[in-house]
């Protein structure tokens, strides 16, 4: 992995796109998230479940944790598993990126196997939205995107074994700075997860 830059990002969003299962009722994930809390299935301090199924293209169903929120997010009409860091500690951007990807992928892996979704839900692990949820540390600008790109490249090269990918920057200046990552080759979720563990 790379050397990193001066940028120290603590609030990273990673959203893994849904490849199959965008039509599954969002409400079917409510009991799943409650079970995740009961059985401590995810990393971090899990607190509660919040439902926003009534909201158009919103956060859907959230699992609220101390460090981050997990959600079946539908922003911009695109369903995906969003891991949104809130309090990431002092480990440095590279570590935060790794943590965010690992936790998001772990949630995807578990969700695919739950009885409500088994065989009906699949995540596209090569289509990922990476954002910085911090307008102070990373205002939407070409400078931020440049730095973020230089942080992301070594990490993505490592994660996706040097395979080709595209980085599409967020164009709307009012939205969070970030990139949509599109990897050409398909990857197995559990293989990526193993690499990050």
């Amino acid at each position: 992995m790379g050397q990193g830059t001066a940028m120290d990002l603590k609030k990273i969003n990673v959203k893994i796109a849904v490849e199959k299962g965008a039509d599954l009722p969002l409400s079917s994930f409510i009991p799943v998230f409650h079970r995740f809390i009961q059985d401590d299935r995810l990393e971090g301090m899990l607190i509660d479940v919040a439902e926003y199924t009534h909201v158009h293209q919103g956060p859907g169903v959230l699992l609220i944790a101390h460090e981050a929120n997990y959600s079946l997010d539908e922003t911009d009409g695109k369903r995906g598993l969003l891991y949104a860091q809130k309090r990431a500690g002092e480990k440095g951007t590279e570590a935060h990126l790794k943590t965010a990807f690992r936790r998001a992928l772990l949630a995807c892996s578990l969700l695919e196997k739950e009885k409500e979704a088994a065989g009906k839900l699949k995540f596209a692990v090569g289509r990922v939205l990476v954002q910085v949820n911090d307008r102070l540390g990373a205002p939407h600008s070409s400078g931020t995107h440049g730095e973020l790109e230089s942080l992301l490249n070594p990490f993505l090269n490592w994660l996706y074994d040097g395979e080709k990918y595209m980085l599409l920057p967020e164009k709307d200046p009012r939205k969070l700075a970030g990139f949509e990552v599109k990897v050409e080759k398909s990857f197995e979720l559990d293989a990526l997860l193993k690499k990050l563990s």
């Binding site: 940028m7 607190i47 509660d48 909201v55 101390h66 959600s71 922003t75 102070l136 540390g137």
Partner: protein, 753 residues
């Protein structure tokens, strides 16, 4: 990006100096609190006054459906209030006086919801916004960013003057006497941080209405309210206010009393200051449950209260801001950004005409309309907030307001722009029709995030809205116009008392399980500024509320007289007959028969407190307390019937019997052999359950037990309608508290469970 930029330095030139200083001070208190140098109790009041509330599970315990789980927050030994963990997510309430918000403020809310909350900005039932799941350490930066666009959270909570609300149609209303907006602005500016409003025993809510007959600002349910009037002075028509005090919902609602009629508008601020002084001086401070101004006004009587205000007004030192603040606010005139236009007959977008019927209000100003944006449960995403801000910029500039029904109003839309406006809303998923109809349901946060929630008010509201939206077009007109309002507990944040079909969350025991219920409240009135309050009729399991509504509305359609309102229908048919219609729905099936009844809407966890285990003899042993409880229920209901029959004395007597039987149930839960007269039962309850703190510990409120003691001391031989109404309501609430106690108390205290 790598430098140490902070929001404080970045925004230093954009914040009003006094607001910036207050936020700095709050931030310093956060640091001191973390160092253990501030009492948690003191810090709690400090943060509340800045709008930072606690949230459910901040005590570190949560029932996960299997067990009570200890939430291991990282800083386990730091507290932001008594029994409130430092790291627990909290809520930030953001004041929008008179509900007014600008495009710039909407953009700001969008960013904050995204960066610090769960991506949702929530409109409350008092025209505020709330952000949930906030960390206390993020609060100062959020406040700075809000202040930079003219918003303060100061006194959004705590014992202070809360958000000043006003009719969202003020200035564009067809029935108003005059626009109350400048006056509501003036009172907000004048009272914010006013020294005379810093020593209240409880919160103080002010509202403005432009007319008497509409729901408008709901003056009747406010601590202090102003209704615009035109008064004749020296043969000239001048603006004036009817000023009311002492109203309020809460568990026991009080009707506001007329303090001054046709009062000059220039006197508005000194009168408010005088009321604040008298309330601060004479209002209850120790017993929180009796500290609202409504109790003081009821205790003194309105004549005596008025006398005190007149005297106080005379000795108030002159303040030039009494008139200058109003003059200043009168200069800020709202103007449309687009030219007036007409809707030209052509092909309209799909759904447009139906939407227009319910969501568009014709302004008295030619060529302009106000659009109601129906916001499901008051929740807006960051994307929607940005989209709405863009629409505000394009069509109306800064004339958007929130409503107490948790919607947004775009005022001054040129009628010719309506089709394009509708399509823009559709793009944001906000073009649903049915604003102000039965499917437009108001709800407080309930068990989703509120520490006091008993049942899932939002879950129920979501379910009902979805069902009613689907059938709205086929519903009879008289049903379409009904109002449904839901609260998660008896505290009335969902304003259930003033709707046609009101619900508040309660729980009931069934064997060793607990079942979420809603108490049905009928007879309330939305119009006339929340003109009258409904009463509880029957507690129904949560999952059976949709069927309850179907039956009641079906009965209404079938049996109503021509032109009869729902409220009049309920009075004519009688609560007894209505309750009879629901008897089978009130019966709780066994867990084996229907386990779904034992969980709440949108929450698959079994609705039970995990430390109430399933006893081996559950369902077989009936403890005598259950008989007392059952009798208390019956007496409470009979009291309501007497009230309907205008037999006030009879109602009060039955309410007292219900109170004593409820107390007896508590005493018998510990001593199953107990038998005693009323006075002895009250004394037993006081000695063993109240003085020991046992009852309060489990119901988390001192007010309910006070209802019993008050009734025992004040028999009310010749009650007036208000007193009788309150006594009946208090009996019902004490009964609910006893239910809670019996659910929450340790099983050891309740033999036979």
């Amino acid at each position: 990006m790598a430098d140490k930029r902070t929001w404080k330095t970045l925004l230093q030139d954009k914040l009003p100096k006094d607001w910036a200083a207050e936020i700095d001070e709050f931030e310093a208190k956060i640091v001191l609190n973390k160092q253990g140098k501030v009492e948690p109790r003191i810090f709690a009041e400090t943060r509340l006054r800045r709008g930072a509330y606690g949230q459910r599970y901040d005590n570190g315990h949560r029932n996960d459906g299997k067990q009570i789980r200890k939430l291991k927050y990282p800083t386990e030994d730091i507290w932001k209030g008594p029994d409130t963990h430092w790291d627990a997510p909290g809520m930030l309430r953001i004041k929008f006086p008179w509900g007014g918000l600008t495009a710039e403020q909407m953009h700001c809310l969008a960013d904050l919801a995204e960066e610090y909350s769960d991506g949702i900005g929530h409109i409350t039932t008092r025209q505020d916004f709330q952000l949930h799941f906030i960390h206390i350490e993020d609060a100062p930066d959020i406040m700075r960013r809000l202040s930079a666009v003219g918003i303060t959270t100061r006194e959004a909570c705590g014992n202070s003057v809360r958000n000043v609300t006003a009719c969202p149609l003020a200035g564009v209303c067809r029935t108003e006497s005059f626009d109350v907006t400048p006056y509501s602005k003036a009172i907000f500016k004048f009272m914010l941080g006013h020294p005379d409003a810093q020593d209240f025993g409880r919160k103080f809510k002010i509202a403005f209405s432009g007319c008497v007959q509409e729901a408008c600002g709901l003056v009747n349910m406010h601590d202090m309210g102003f209704i615009a009037k035109k008064a004749m002075v020296n043969g000239k028509e001048v603006p004036a206010f009817d000023i009311y005090v002492g109203g309020g919902l809460g568990p026991v609602p009080y009707n506001a009393k007329l303090l001054f009629q046709d009062h000059p508008v220039e006197e508005m601020l000194p009168v408010t200051q005088a009321v604040a002084r008298v309330y601060g001086r004479l209002g209850e401070k120790k017993i929180r449950g009796m500290a609202r101004i409504k109790f003081l006004v009821a205790k003194l009587g309105i004549e005596e209260f008025r006398k005190l205000i007149v005297e106080e007004r005379k000795v108030l030192p002159f303040d030039p801001r009494w008139t200058s603040t109003i003059e200043e606010c009168l200069k800020e005139v709202e103007k449309p950004s687009q030219k007036a236009g007409n809707l030209k007959a052509s092909s309209f977008p799909k759904g447009f005409l139906d939407w227009k019927k319910t969501n568009v209000y014709q302004q008295p100003q030619y060529g302009y309309v106000t659009v109601y944006v129906k916001v499901p449960l008051g929740d807006l995403t960051s994307t929607q907030l940005r989209g709405l801000a863009d629409m505000a910029g394009r069509y109306v500039k800064d004339t958007v307001r929130t409503s107490v029904e948790q919607n947004l109003l775009f005022r001054w839309v040129s009628e010719g722009d309506l089709p394009a406006f509708y399509e823009a809303l559709a793009g944001l998923g906000l073009s649903a029709g049915g604003a102000n109809t039965i499917s437009d349901i108001t709800s407080c946060p309930g068990t989703d995030t509120c520490k006091l929630g008993i049942s899932a008010s939002r879950g129920l509201a979501r379910e009902l809205s979805e069902r009613l939206d689907k059938t709205l077009s086929s519903l009879p007109e008289e049903v379409k116009d009904l109002k449904i309002k839901v609260s998660g507990c008896p505290n009335s944040c969902g304003q259930h008392h003033i709707s046609d079909l009101g619900f508040y969350g309660v729980s009931r025991k069934s064997g060793s399980f607990t079942v979420p219920h809603f108490q049905l409240v009928l007879g309330g009135q939305w119009k006339n500024n929340g003109g009258s309050y409904g009463l509880a009729v029957a507690a129904v399991p949560s999952k059976r509320i949709p069927e309850t509504i179907e039956r009641l509305t079906g009965k209404y359609v079938k049996e109503r007289s021509r032109g009869e309102s729902f409220q009049a229908f309920v009075t004519r048919v009688g609560k007894s007959a209505i309750r009879e219609t629901l008897t089978d729905l009130m019966t709780i099936p066994s867990h084996e028969q229907d386990p779904s009844i034992y969980s709440d809407w949108g929450d698959p966890r079994e609705y039970t407190i995990a430390d109430i285990g399933k006893g081996e003899c559950a369902g077989e042993v009936v403890n005598p307390y259950e008989f007392s409880l059952s009798q208390a229920e019956a007496k409470s209901f009979e009291a309501q019937l007497k009230l309907d029959q205008k037999d006030l004395k009879g109602a009060v007597a039955l309410a007292f019997e219900s109170l004593v039987l409820s107390a007896e149930a508590v005493v018998r839960s510990r001593n199953r052999e107990y038998v005693g007269e009323a006075a002895a039962t009250v004394a037993e309850f006081r000695k063993h359950f109240f003085d020991t703190g046992e009852f309060v510990k489990h119901v988390n409120n001192t007010q309910f037990a006070a209802f019993l003691f008050k009734a025992a001391e004040q028999k009310l031989d010749n009650p007036n309608p208000d007193e009788a109404h309150r006594r009946v309501e208090e009996a019902q609430l004490f009964l609910e508290a006893v239910h809670s106690y019996l659910v929450n108390a340790a099983p050891a205290a309740i033999p036979g469970t």
